[in-house]
């Protein structure tokens, strides 16, 4: 159950592109044609599904405070968490290289469709972001980390597919000259992000776990609600 919940949450509610703006550079640069967008999206799913669980293992057994205790008592007090950036990015860069070599060797047809995108991915913020969010949200098990990686990858795939399709069609519309290209893409993405915010209510059931994992968006929304409440209280006072 929690796998399904996390899966849908990472696709829709915490969508990489629309909720946290990760991987925007390649999202904007490679979304001119649907076919290339599909290629990059597939590569992102692939790499996220590998690197997030791998970095989870690193985090759990190497980086967290006290993670080294499996080596013996005297190592239990070490806290290497400041090394996480460099460890994560090194893992990602080497994994991308490794995946490229393996895919080239065993599946030339897949390599031909993914190949050119793989090097691009090492510096895609969505990949590092996936690992960093995995760390900061303290995902408890390896299985859940894999689910999170695949889910976020699919979310990113959906986003780039949608924008590429829209951009192919918008070429026939009469956009103001100064907005053409980049400008209108930004605004469309903004509108799509507003649409995706409506998924926010999908998982706000009664259970406590879901409540703990409030996303930044809901925190902001709550702030707003509190402000409104304060305003309402004040109005009531004034009326009285």
């Amino acid at each position: 159950m929690e796998h399904i919940e996390l899966f849908f949450k990472s696709i829709f509610i915490d969508n990489m592109v629309f909720a946290t703006f990760l991987g925007m550079c390649s999202y904007l640069a490679v979304s001119k044609k649907v076919s290339t967008a599909v290629g990059l999206g597939a590569a992102v799913i692939f790499v996220l599904a590998i690197t997030v669980p791998l970095n989870w293992l690193l985090d759990q057994y190497l980086l967290q405070p006290g993670a080294l205790s499996w080596l013996g008592e005297e190592y239990a007090s070490y806290d290497l968490s400041f090394l996480s950036f460099i460890m994560f990015i090194a893992t990602i860069a080497t994994m991308v290289q490794l995946v490229e070599i393996v895919v080239e060797k065993f599946s030339p047809s897949l390599y031909n469709s993914l190949g050119i995108f793989l090097p691009l991915i090492a510096v895609n913020c969505a990949i590092l972001g996936g690992s960093l969010f995995m760390q900061s949200r303290e995902i408890p098990t390896l299985g859940l980390a894999t689910t999170y990686g695949v889910g976020s990858g699919i979310g990113w795939f959906l986003a780039i597919l949608a924008i590429a399709a829209i951009r192919e069609k918008i070429r026939y519309s009469n956009v103001p000259p100064a907005l053409r290209g980049l400008g209108i893409t930004f605004i469309i993405t903004g509108l799509m992000a507003i649409g995706f915010m409506s998924f926010g209510g999908m998982l706000t059931g009664g259970d406590d776990e879901a409540k703990e994992e409030v996303t930044t968006t809901t925190v902001e929304a709550e702030k707003k609600i509190e402000e409104t409440k304060a305003l309402a209280d004040n109005t009531i006072k004034v009326i009285e």
């Binding site: 629309f18 909720a19 946290t20 703006f21 990760l22 991987g23 925007m24 550079c25 904007l28 640069a29 400041f82 090394l83 996480s84 950036f85 460099i86 994560f88 990015i89 090194a90 860069a93 080497t94 090097p119 090492a122 510096v123 895609n124 913020c125 990949i127 590092l128 972001g129 960093l132 969010f133 760390q135 900061s136 103001p176 000259p177 100064a178 907005l179 053409r180 290209g181 980049l182 400008g183 209108i184 893409t185 930004f186 605004i187 993405t189 903004g190 509108l191 992000a193 507003i194 915010m197 930044t216 968006t217 902001e220 929304a221 702030k223 707003k224 402000e227 304060a230 305003l231 004040n234």
Partner: protein, 214 residues
């Protein structure tokens, strides 16, 4: 300019407008959008990126003749990651609250495309001093957009600037609020950042027709 030759000065001024990293080169969007709900976070982010980019550019430029081109991406990533760790630790030590607000986005400076982009396009082929100026210039162009977006989002969204209530108090009904002004809470939500950047691009390209894409 006594200190800078004309060519060097251009390295700084160019990225501020006509070659802006965000609106023209489309680099480094991710972090630019996610943390701009407050002006203070935007400023801190801009300064962090400036530090990382300027120092990183110099380091890469010093090493440019000894980096084998096949493994240059990994070398670049290690340099950036080391610098970002320093920035992160400094922020955690001196501005803990703020580093909580920025959360993972400090770490994401590593994959900020501006940094890798400038390393690849400039630092690998130029001398340290020019690379330093290029780093400062590009980070300033990036910071400028961040600060503009942060300014409008905080002002319209919560009626404050850097935490000061510049438009009066919404609860006490003073200042603008006395005549019925309301905060636009929507500005605080992430989609508005995209739309604000879109509008900045619109304004910039309407003023300078040469930048229009077809």
């Amino acid at each position: 300019m006594g200190l800078l030759s004309k060519k060097d000065a251009k390295l700084i001024t160019d990225p501020l407008a006509d070659n802006n990293p965000i609106t023209i080169q489309v680099l480094g969007i991710c972090s630019a959008l996610a943390i701009t709900a407050e002006l203070k976070a935007s400023i801190v982010m801009a300064v962090s990126v400036m530090a990382v980019l300027a120092i990183g550019n110099v380091v890469i430029s010093l090493m440019r003749n000894i980096i084998p081109s096949k493994i240059r991406i990994i070398v670049q990533l290690v340099v950036v990651a080391a610098l970002v760790i320093i920035v992160d630790q400094v922020l955690k030590a001196f501005a803990y609250e703020l580093s909580k607000t920025l959360s993972v986005f400090v770490g994401l400076i590593i994959t900020n495309c501006i940094i890798m982009g400038r390393f690849e396009a400039f630092a690998l082929a130029n001398k340290p001093w020019q690379s330093f100026l290029d780093g400062i210039g590009n980070a300033a162009g990036y910071g400028l957009i961040l600060i503009i977006v942060g300014f409008f989002r905080e002002l319209l969204g919560s009626g404050t600037l850097l935490g000061f209530k510049v438009l009066g108090d919404p609860i006490e009904k003073t200042g603008l609020y006395a005549i019925g002004y309301e905060n636009n809470g929507f500005m605080l939500l992430s989609p508005m950042a995209l739309i604000v950047v879109g509008i900045i691009i619109w304004i910039q390209r309407s003023r300078n027709k040469a930048l229009i894409e077809d």
